[in-house]
Symmetry: C2
Subunit: 498 residues, 2 copies
């Protein structure tokens, strides 16, 4: 009975999540500016309802009783684990700290928008310092409450766990070390080879937004997006939101830069298909929801990097691109392939190609870890940033804070521990893709015909339909026969670029 | 202290309302069809949160204590009254009845969509009967709990009160009798006079939606709509939604019928200005919200009927209409005025002009009242409908259920007691308009210059800024010097049409 009661409680939380998710989507996509204060109050109050439910003193006894219940199915057992994790994580952090962090994060993020465009690090640092101070407190609280049981090596592990349960620095460190050892040589080889090629063409004329939008929708349909169960809208910062039953992705279009928008839509469609592919019967329970960000990002990057930038896919969609965007020489298959596989070190993470991208993440990972563990202070960030950019990518960012440590929103809002997910996602995607090709040997031919259903079925069976039934290592083991192994990503880079 | 605690409780309810309102807007404007089941679950659960708060046993003692608190301001006293009304109304109706009604209403409304287009009364009646049976139960429960104190003459009064607090059949009956006595002769005179005129011109060519939309936004701006605090979107059934801080109105455009859409936007803008004009300091409390539907509709009809279809307004906007829609002879001021003041009895309420509209409402009022009081059965509806349409408007609707008793959605969803608000709103609008003209003698000249701020200021002071501070009679008395008096509406009709 206790398990069933807990399911009812988490069903209620799931309905609150639906409301929060949709109101958040509206806030970013539809809401006029003057609506923000009222919306923030409403969202804050929904958060209070959530906390009250999770702080109900009767939950402890219910969890204890549920653990001794017999006859739970594997899904129910996994659900119980997920429920308890959510509950304990909420209890671990004092309410006053949550509020202080939310306040400091809002203030820092708000000032960042102006100070970033002013390239003003001096006034930004004093806003960022309290955020890191409070996140350190949060990390300490989480580690103290959950660390022994979950095997955190340190406070920073507690933050990684928030975004990517199952991932620890003990797993990340050797993997990132391997990338740091292998990628610089690979990068040098690739850049050297590229020197003998002309830069790919970009479109000669501006491309009307309406044409780009029609192409985006066409490609989303090719990728299995169901427009009866989701929407595509416009935002300055594209994201994937909504709920599994109603998936809302966004993009931005630029008349003078069609290249970026296209892959953005493919990327978000990957996130969306994961969400909409989750197990129908469990959507209102924690076990039915998506896993951590490392797996989530693996699906968007499977779509974007493994599928979207592959030669057979770009060849297959070239006629559609030309049909919607016109006959510019930028849109023939050869040029599209070159455009989407061009490698070049740069300052900006979100514009980075898949070869240099991991370096951007490693820089942030090492820096935020040291900040949390007290081995660095906010004041040290610019120097550490410049040194790492020089060492890892040979890029000089001195004095350019805007395109240096002020380029990302994550830290301003207190999202520390998130960055590793991007690169873990890329590695997972490569590993999953290679396992998929083993299972479907003619996958490349199918991609060339845009006969993608078998590939999506494989992802569905091995990732989407699993919800949060398995932990991260077991998911990768069952899907690919081994846990995370960066060799697959390095092989992918060698095959595509060398 | 008890009063302050109650304010906190109703603050929470207000945040739930924000969520419900915005999720409802999204459901009707943005949501893809497959999102509906999950959305319905989320909305239902928010309703459960609301009910739990209002059924908290400690509320009774808090209300009692608050009543004996001294030093409450008039706004706080009025707020206490509004809080208690909401609380007692929720307690009065058993939860099982609320659920049964919601279920029967959903079923009836769902089947109505198909059966209406099939003109199938036979299969519709058995779906409508349980809705009326349950609404009768609801009316009885409300009357039993609140009737003595609030002075309900019968169960039907309890339903009117739900939508239009302060209004009773004892107020409506003589007013509607006066309209029934006066309007048929007026109508005959007007129709007779119209016979000597040619029908007004309609546009020769289709008008692109984008042009209609640009005109709509232009007119909304003229009418003071703040696009930084609201949106205009498209829906099949236009409505006004959102929250006071973020007002969302909708419209529909038809390339071949520009006439209807234009007034629809003006109408919804009236609803919106009322909501956004409510007292800022009280928006999260019941006293800060809008009054009943009779007052709400008075604001939309002030905008549409008193202002929008007036000669000086149409003359003033004619150049804008031509600028956006083209130089068609339909768009000169004379013709616009004729188009928007053409009177013609017809079957459909929502298409009716302001002279025949009250007859549609009186028919529904008398019929639904008799159904609730047990003087008629659902099976009697078609005959009663036909008789009334013949008597009141000389229109034969026999066999045409689709454009007869199946034309409205209200009854299918259990919204009985709502219809009188439409005509009370029209009467209130005329009465308020005449009071405004007394206060601003050069109002017509100002309208001709589209210098509308003084008129909106008058509405703001006399209606919008009052929130729910006053009851209906006091509001009208303070604003116009008398309670509802249908003579103002009849004078308006005579002046405009005779």
């Amino acid at each position: 009975m206790s398990y069933a009661t807990l399911e009812q409680t988490f069903y209620r939380l799931s309905q609150l999540s639906h409301a929060e998710s949709m109101l958040g989507w509206d806030q970013r996509v539809m809401m006029p500016p003057k609506g923000n204060a009222a919306r923030s109050r409403a969202l804050a109050e929904l958060g209070v309802f959530r906390t009250e439910i999770l702080q109900d003193p009767s939950l402890a006894a219910q969890f204890e009783a549920a653990h001794s219940e017999s006859g739970l199915t594997p899904w129910q057992t996994a659900n119980l684990r997920q429920m308890e994790r959510q509950w304990r994580q909420t209890l671990a952090v004092p309410k006053a700290l949550v509020e202080a962090l939310s306040l400091a994060g809002s203030e820092c993020e708000h000032s960042w928008r102006q100070l970033r465009s002013d390239n003003n690090w001096k006034d930004f640092a004093p806003k960022l310092q309290p955020v890191f101070d409070l996140v350190r407190e949060e990390a300490q609280a989480l580690n103290a409450a959950l660390g022994d049981e979950l095997g955190f090596a340190n406070d920073y592990d507690a933050l990684i766990h928030k975004f990517d349960p199952g991932t620890r620095s003990a797993r990340i460190d050797p993997v990132f070390a391997q990338l740091k050892a292998a990628l610089p040589d690979l990068l040098a080889t690739i850049v050297e080879r590229q020197k003998h090629r002309a830069r790919p063409n970009t479109p000669k004329a501006a491309i009307p937004i309406a044409h780009q939008d029609a192409l985006a929708r066409d490609l989303m349909a090719v990728l299995g997006f169901d427009f009866n169960a989701g929407r595509l809208d416009l935002t300055a910062h594209p994201f994937s939101g909504g709920v599994p039953e109603d998936s809302r992705i966004t993009t931005r279009y630029d008349e003078n830069n069609v290249v970026e928008g296209l892959m953005g839509v493919i990327h978000e469609t990957g996130h969306s298909r994961y969400e909409t592919g989750l197990p129908q019967d469990w959507l209102d329970q924690p076990v039915g929801r998506s896993m951590g960000m490392g797996v989530h990002e693996s699906q968007s990057l499977f779509f974007e990097m493994q599928l979207g930038r592959s030669r057979p896919f770009l060849e297959a969609i070239a006629p559609r691109v030309q049909q919607h965007l016109g006959q510019d020489r930028a849109f023939n298959a050869d040029n599209l392939h070159q455009l989407y596989t061009w490698v070049e070190p740069g300052k900006i993470r979100v514009n980075a190609d898949e070869v240099t991208y991991p370096m951007h993440v490693i820089l942030r990972y090492e820096l935020e870890r040291d900040l949390i563990l007290g081995h660095a202070r906010v004041a040290d960030i610019p120097e550490r940033w410049n040194d790492a950019m020089m060492n890892l990518l040979g890029v000089d960012t001195r004095g350019d804070y805007r395109n240096g440590p002020m380029q990302d929103i994550h830290w301003t809002a207190g999202a520390v521990g998130y960055f590793p997910s991007y690169t873990l996602g890329a590695l997972n995607a490569a590993q999953l893709h290679q396992a998929m090709v083993k299972a479907i040997p003619d996958a490349a031919d199918r991609v060339a015909r845009l006969d993608l259903e078998p590939i999506f079925d494989w992802l569905s069976q091995n990732v989407w339909q699993k919800g949060s039934l398995l932990d991260y290592d077991d998911l990768m083991m069952e899907a690919t026969g081994e846990t995370l192994n960066p060799e697959h990503f390095l092989r992918h880079v060698r095959e595509r670029y060398c």
